[in-house]
């Protein structure tokens, strides 16, 4: 069930009734576990089997690792955990893609496809959550969770189960065991976050309505339509994912559990590296901690550093989808990060650059970052490689003769709204993140009124637009 539906509202109300009236930690955790499974099983009850396979394997692996100091045994156990999770991913997400790869080199494999294969919702997210837990146990950064219900509640925790944020056991589990009390501040903040996310989702669906006809028929779209639709998709995916995360965070906050922030005004980034500190933060930190660092990180010289960046981003691209376009998307980001790293490396040995040059560099950096990041969305959105190439041809045509499509004032207004929301968030981030939050009466009235306005505005924009599945649900 999607967050922005009546079904979820009823589900959440019933959940809160049981959860807040539960006596004792054990009952509360069991309630959370049951409702999380209902939430997940609502899509398809068969998905629960895979989820519980992951939970059971990783629970026992982690506890086994906790009982032995033998490095050989621990290594064997962690391989079991990682292999199980990756095998599930490989079969359900990547098998047909790998088969199709054989076809591209002329090998006949049409009978090998696994037809009618379900891609379980949230598979990529909960397998990464599980892997992060067992690897942390292996690295002795985390003690094994003794109580299987607590561990299962952590993995299944419904606000983040199907599309993240990819939480870490050290951050989420203590809160599940001992959640914060639902104070006025938290409920007020939670409502606001949810309403903001709801409004963002409505904007995402509106942008989708505008760009989908272009991407669905690139052959007849004009060059300027293609170019501006790429930016339109950039806004769509940002609003969609950020909106989902905010709804998840809002719901979780009401329960008394803080989920990590996943987006921090990414399009205001001044470099690709900064972009990845601000976009899908839970994924980028996961890739850094469990892939990039495992490959060696930046420890063994610049060439290895750059190699590790590219490999990490290519695999990050593949995580998003089983397709060559996603590999290209990842490779491009790897390339950007590499170039950014090399530029930074060279600049550090030239400290004598003037302030004016530095300022110019910042502005240009910001603009170039925005443009190159949005360019990569082309590969994310196009369904096939040939579509992506066709779009590139249109871009080249546009560069030769830059024209602007007709844009309705209302659409420009929406873009301004997105920019303003980010500016306000950025201002809030730079000024208030350092201070503990205190709900004054005036602020509470403003925030809660804003929640109401955002909710109604989201309702108006969302209704009548063909409801788009959250983009990241497909991962």
């Amino acid at each position: 069930m999607l967050f922005h539906t009546l079904t979820f509202l009823i589900f959440f109300i019933v959940f809160c009734m049981f959860y807040f009236s539960a006596r004792g930690n054990a009952t509360r955790i069991a309630t959370l576990l049951v409702f999380s499974n209902i939430f997940y099983g609502w899509w398809d009850w068969r998905y629960l089997a895979l989820l519980w396979l992951t939970i059971i394997v990783d629970y026992f692996v982690a506890n086994a690792m906790g009982k032995t100091d033998s490095q050989r045994d621990r290594k064997f156990l962690i391989i079991i955990s990682i292999a199980t999770n990756l095998l599930i991913l490989a079969v359900f997400k990547y098998f047909n893609f790998f088969i199709s790869s054989f076809e591209t080199v002329g090998i006949e494999v049409s009978n090998w496809y696994l037809r009618e294969l379900l891609l379980p919702v949230g598979l990529s997210f909960y397998t990464f959550v599980s892997i992060s837990y067992t690897v942390d146990v292996y690295r002795k950064k985390q003690k094994p969770v003794k109580n299987i219900l607590e561990y299962a509640a952590f993995v299944c925790y419904f606000p983040q189960l199907v599309a993240g944020p990819i939480e870490r056991v050290g951050h989420l589990l203590p809160q599940i065991i001992t959640p914060l009390k639902p104070t006025r501040e938290r409920v007020s903040d939670g409502l606001f976050l949810f309403s903001l996310g709801f409004f963002q989702k409505s904007l995402a669906d509106t942008f989708a309505e505008l760009v989908n006809p272009i991407f669905n028929d690139l052959a007849i779209a004009s060059p300027e339509q293609v170019v501006f639709s790429i930016f339109g998709f950039g806004l769509q995916i940002y609003m969609d994912f950020s909106g989902y995360t905010n709804m998840a965070r809002g719901v979780s906050k009401v329960i008394g559990i803080e989920l990590m922030i996943n987006f921090k005004t990414p399009y205001f980034s001044l470099s690709p590296r900064e972009f990845w500190r601000r976009w899908h933060i839970s994924l980028s930190t996961w890739l850094r901690d469990y892939l990039y660092i495992s490959l060696g990180g930046s420890r063994k010289g610049l060439p290895r550093h750059l190699r590790n960046l590219v490999i990490t981003m290519i695999l990050g691209g593949l995580w998003h989808g089983a397709g060559f376009n996603f590999i290209i998307w990842g490779a491009l980001h790897g390339l950007y990060l590499s170039v950014d790293t090399m530029i930074e490396h060279r600049l550090t040995i030239r400290p004598y650059l003037s302030e004016n040059v530095k300022r110019l560099k910042l502005v240009l950096s910001g603009l170039i970052t925005f443009l190159v990041i949005n360019y990569t969305w082309l590969y994310f959105r196009c369904e096939t490689f040939s579509d992506a190439m066709l779009a590139n041809q249109k871009i080249i045509l546009w560069l030769n003769q830059p024209l602007f499509p007709e844009i309705y004032p209302g659409i420009l207004g929406l873009v301004l709204v997105v920019i303003m929301m980010d500016i306000i968030t950025r201002f809030h981030e730079e000024n208030d993140y350092k201070k503990p939050f205190e709900l004054t009466a005036a602020f509470a009235i403003i925030q809660n009124s804003a929640s109401g306005i955002l909710f109604v505005a989201g309702l108006v924009f969302l209704l009548g637009v063909p409801t788009q599945q959250f983009i990241y649900f497909q991962f």
Partner: protein, 467 residues
Amino acid sequence: MRNISIFMAPFVVLMLIGLANGMVSKCQFPSYGIWTGIRPLENKIKLFDEFSKEGAVDATIFGSSIADFGFSSEKYSKLMSSFLGRPYRAFNFATGGAELTTILQLYKISRVLAQTKEIILVMPAQWKRSNQISIYSPDHLLNLSPIGNALDNPTLLKIQKKIWSMPIIDKAPALRDSLLFGDLTLVGEGMDTYEVNSYGDRISFGAIKDNDKLMSLRDIYIANISPYNELNSNSHNKLEHFFPQVDIDAMFELRQLAKKDGVKLTIFAHGSAATFIDLPIDDIEYKLARSQYFEVMANELGAELVMKDDIAIPSYGVMEDTHLNHHGAILYTQQIFEQRSKSEIKLKKVKINDPLKSILNDDQTFNSWSAVINNKQGPNKNTLRCRFVNSIAVPDFPLNDLYFALRMTDGSDIIVPAVKVGKSTYEGQFDLEDYPKVGVLVFRLLYGTATNLRAIPSPLAAYEWVK
């Protein structure tokens, strides 16, 4: 203040929704049909809601567009009221494309709005369809729409109805389009060119021009249905001969539901217009198949069957090969009522002049909106008042140079100026005293100069002869 500030959020939501509801309800925004995904159906739901508030519902008619166009609930209500000696109210809930599976869904929707005493299925006998639900069918659209989640839960359906009926929700897409694009993105459909009256009847006055083509199509309808062999068919075989499993399941569930609600089930045997035109079909195999079809259906539903083999509709009552127009609907309704009530209606003798024979194919004063109207003109009623359909599918009329035209039996036209007397309503004065008295005439709305007149898109919603 801090303590209660949290309640600001729901308070603001309620306040804004209340304000927005008030404002939006005053705007003439059309509904986009976002609750069911089928705009004409949502219009019927609203009409049925209003209809049920005015009194008890004696019968609700279900069927496809054949019933939507080809059955007159208004006429049936009047005939039954007169027959029973008390007010009788029937509503036409038929929806284009509806099959038995859809009718089940439609009933589930209608029973949440108002309880009816009788379900009347107005259906044609047709070939056995596929067991798959077509992606173009109303069933598919209903399942994809928000209402799809609530069809099996009357309580949830009622809650949904209340929420989705709120102006801010119902008109949200139109409001959004106005804010974003400065205009509506709603595209007019064919159904937007027909008015639906307060009894749910969809009104069309168009009529077929090419009788010969219709007769050839009639042969196709006859060939498409065949009888089962009585000797080696059990009851299950008989069902399966005509109906796919999805329809059999739907009939079972509809019967259970009707029984639970204490509602009577009745079937009025209808048909594609081509099977009624001018003369009834006398093909023995077709008549047997049709009879078997409805008997099997009636048996499965536990329904009363009302079937008349010799229904004939003159060509002026036929819109095209599938649908009757308003005149045909009234004639069909009269005949089926006669069959059911076993009473004879004294039908007025209408001199049929086949008014469309004289239309030339290249006559630009005729188009698909040319309407067949009853000639009730008289000394005290020489003004024809016409109201035209006002919808997004009908372009605005020109401000001037509009004319009414009536085609006479000698092939000539009487053309008079059309004077606007109200919203989408025009009048024209005619003097037909010197012309032979005929039952029906062909009417058009024309635009242009005296020497260059042409018909414009002008679907007729209603007309009357006034003083």
